[in-house]
């Protein structure tokens, strides 16, 4: 069992393209990539603006609020560590697509609520939680009650 307990939580394999996003997340900021040419916001971070193909990309702080576009209660996560967590607690992880008020969609997790409380269109706000067993902060979302 001891070896199974040491299975690491999956963390991003950070590259230059998403490094600023994760650095800001560690400070409690949720940032979106913004095209310096056409002004469009995008998520996830990419090497170019997918609208105008500009490589002049900056970052803009997001309000971190939005609505749930869709969600799923995950009973069988792919990676061993989250899968073991679900098996141990019997509580699914709520994986969701969230439309931020800035008009971009984010995939993340809805935390601190029961699966039956989650509804399409529900308002949510970003929060930051350390990935289990690490001090790496992941931006997640809570229902605005």
């Amino acid at each position: 069992m001891a070896t199974e307990d040491r299975v690491a939580w999956p963390l991003p394999d950070i590259a230059s393209v998403d490094k600023p996003f994760w650095e800001e997340a560690q400070k409690g900021n949720f940032v979106l990539q913004k095209c310096q040419d056409c002004g469009r916001l995008q998520f996830l971070p990419r090497p170019v603006c997918v609208n105008c193909f500009s490589r002049k990309l900056g970052w803009q702080q997001s309000e971190g609020t939005g609505n749930i576009y869709s969600f799923t209660s995950v009973y069988v996560p792919v990676r061993p560590a989250p899968r073991k967590q679900v098996e141990k607690t019997g509580v699914p992880i709520i994986f969701a697509a969230i439309d931020l008020d800035e008009g971009v969609r984010v995939l993340s997790e809805i935390v601190d609520c029961l699966p039956e409380e989650v509804k399409l269109g529900a308002r949510v706000k970003v929060c930051f939680e350390e990935a289990p067993g690490t001090n790496f902060k992941l931006p997640k979302f809570r229902l605005i009650k």
Binding site: D13, L41, Y75, V76, A131
Partner: protein
């Protein structure tokens, strides 16, 4: 595009089997399986190895380069192609081969796929930036979760029901009962479907296919060559593809796939009404339903009603996945997609035995592949085949 002078002349398929518990667990275990499928396909086409001058391989399942696999099969080639578009690779391998044949580069191409699975070694696909960095840290459940997000949205937006989706699964199983190569052949009821456990809500156990061991191959040939073999070649009538539909949209509509852009090109020569049966890529029932909508067999959002109104079994008015599809026949990863083409050619040649359709002159085959960050699918591909 509309095709001239390209035919499908043969198919080979091994029975799908559950992942093995024991065995050598070698990376190269697929070779004899692949060789047998290719051999069966050439026998079915009444061609010899020396007739083959092109070889395409569905890459998803293989750690090997395509020329290296061809070397193992002893193939000297004028054209070689590895296709790495996930579940769309099988249809696209035929499409690429058709290009080469139409250009006169080759006369006969074999398109092959196959994999050997071992228990306890789940297939995880290749590392991908969106999945690894922005999905897996959040408990993502793989394709089950991606299609769950799409299905949840489709149900809310259009009123699609679990009963409608369940009818797809149950009908395919009925078809699989007549297919001895299918992995899952025991009867399945709508009640079984509705009562199956939730994997990633609203996706439940019987929405998910079983990854298995298998191998498949088809032979594509010029019309000239095909006519030397048979009086009734199966013609490739038209084919189309779209990759990354809606990728530039910051909030894409997850209920619409790239198939929505293919209809005009696909049905330019043969109309939807002329389609006798469809072999539709079925990694999930919601995927089948969305393809029917997006290809224009019904209005957007009315896929559930279409399923209610039609009998989609081999005995029905609109037969879909006459061998049980991947949901019942099993998905040998890349080989899974090829089984749709194999079944279409089998039906069109009139060789489907107990499940042979009374009318099988024109068939539709689709393939969809790969899941990105926030698109329902990445690659959409489809083709129409017709008995000459």
């Amino acid at each position: 595009m509309q095709r001239e002078g390209v035919c499908l002349v043969g198919y080979g398929e091994l029975p799908n089997t559950l992942p093995e518990a024991e065995g050598l667990r070698s990376s190269f275990s697929y070779l004899p399986y692949l060789a047998e499928a290719v051999s069966l396909a050439l026998d079915n086409a009444r061609l010899k190895k020396k007739d083959v001058d092109g070889f395409a391989l569905v890459r998803l399942a293989f750690p090997a380069d395509t020329p290296a696999v061809a070397e193992e099969l002893g193939l000297e080639l004028d054209w070689v192609q590895g296709v790495d578009c996930g579940g769309a690779s099988a249809v696209l391998s035929v499409r690429r081969a058709a290009d080469a044949i139409q250009l006169g580069q080759i006369e006969v191409a074999v398109c092959a796929a196959g994999i050997v699975r071992y228990r306890g070694h789940p297939f995880r696909g290749l590392p991908a930036y969106p999945t690894d960095n922005f999905m897996l840290p959040y408990g993502y459940g793989g394709p089950n979760s991606s299609f769950a997000l799409t299905q949840q949205r489709h149900m809310a937006q259009y009123g699609t029901t679990l009963e409608q989706l369940g009818k797809i699964v149950v009908s395919f199983r009925q078809n699989a009962e007549l297919n001895e190569n299918a992995l899952l052949r025991s009867p399945l009821t709508l009640e079984d479907y509705l009562n199956s456990r939730t994997i990633s809500s609203p996706v439940r156990l019987y929405d998910c296919l079983r990854v298995c061991t298998g191998a498949t191959a088809v032979v594509v040939a010029s019309e000239r060559k095909a006519k030397q073999i048979t009086e009734h070649p199966i013609y490739l009538v038209s084919d189309a593809e779209k990759t990354n539909y809606q990728v530039d949209k910051p909030t894409p509509d997850r209920t619409v796939t790239g198939f929505a852009t293919l209809g005009e090109e696909l049905f330019s020569k043969v109309s939807r009404e002329e389609i006798d049966f469809a072999e539709i890529y079925d990694d999930y029932p919601i995927a089948v339903l969305m393809q029917l909508e997006d290809l224009g067999f019904c209005d957007k959002g009315k896929g559930g009603q279409f399923i209610e109104q039609h009998d989609i079994t081999v005995h029905g008015d609109f037969p879909i996945n006459t061998g049980g599809g991947e949901l019942s026949a099993g998905q040998a990863v890349g080989a899974g997609a090829m089984l749709h083409i194999v079944e279409a050619v089998r039906q069109l040649k009139g060789e489907a035995a107990a499940r042979q359709l009374k009318k099988a002159r024109t068939g539709l085959v689709t393939g969809l592949g790969l899941l990105g960050f926030d698109l329902p699918i990445m690659c959409a591909a489809a083709m129409i085949l017709q008995r000459g």
